[in-house]
Symmetry: C5
Subunit: 96 residues, 5 copies
């Protein structure tokens, strides 16, 4: 999984029918030091995440293993909201 | 999913039989700030997208989870046409 | 799918048994402007492509969705021979 | 599979339900010469790995082929702890 | 599939149970001109390859389509030993 920060939302009315009702969030990836890693993705929200939250997202076929995304044409899903992580004994991030 | 702009079309008469009838679109990827991200892909159209439209496309096995592409050798599908998205409270794009 | 040019052939006698009879082609990827994109791959031929032809190839699990490659350890397949494509109204390539 | 060093841990209370009980580890990837390769990932622990250990991790759908991760939205799993490896006859790493 | 040269071996005693008995090889990827491409991977051996041999390896779910790797948490497998390949009519490599 990759770390990311939810930075925005996306609306798409015309879409594959099975995607109806899903929430699309704009995510910028973070490296393990908590800095922006340069990449970004539009992910389906599987856990009720909101703008400003730091999350874990899964890509590829793993993104269809949530209740929300099962058998849907979705290749990126937010599957956890991060509370905290540490690297080499140092806390990098803690949810405010 | 990744953001992209449909920039063209592709014709391939000789192809795997199950691909018959599918429409191939040339897509340049966009980053979340709406600028071209440098990559490009040929995607199957799953939603009736046309040249000039901003779309979401899914890659990998997710690309076979649409009615059009089920069990076909397709690794990229356009599954939504984007109306609008915003990043950090600022509207980046709105369909004209 | 990605665009590529078939630039050569590869022979491998000792291989996973289920690959027997498949043709391996060396493919250099092209960007949508028709220039070499820097990457390359060895793909199984699913459509009777030959050296010099411009093709579409699919990677990942999509590469096992052709008659030739079903349930075989193959992660790249040529699934179409390109006739022509255009970008922003300009023809980039037409098969000679 | 890729080589990595476990450098930290991550806690996420709010997550997809099926991920309950899994341990998330922060992993920096290593190249085959044992140096940090620049990338990093958050992986589920499938083998009881701890901070400081050198491991192999699998990504993509392979990451769901362990007892811990079966049918869960997980795209990276640690599936082995490395004892030693060598390149061109020279030992690069041996577990201390 | 990608081209690679087997440069070493790896031992991991503590691993996901289903990986018991598999041989892990260290592989440096080659580009189609036969030069090292910069990347590397640890792959399961599916064909009896040894150090110094030039091979084809498959990644992703394709890596589980060999007898050795079926339903195992493996994302890279060597599925062929290369005899020879040519690019634009010129032989790049022939097994010695």
């Amino acid at each position: 999984m990759l770390l990311g920060e939810v930075v925005g939302t996306l609306v798409a009315t015309r879409k594959e029918e099975t995607l109806e009702g899903l929430k699309f969030l704009v995510v910028k990836s973070l490296d393990v030091d908590g800095k922006q890693a340069g990449g970004s993705v539009v992910a389906v929200d599987g856990v009720g995440a909101g703008v400003g939250e730091v999350v874990l997202y899964a890509t590829g076929s793993a993104a269809r293993q949530t209740v929300a995304t099962h058998e849907r044409p979705c290749d990126a899903v937010i599957m956890a909201i991060v509370d905290t992580w540490e690297v080499e004994g140092k806390e990098i991030y803690r949810k405010g």
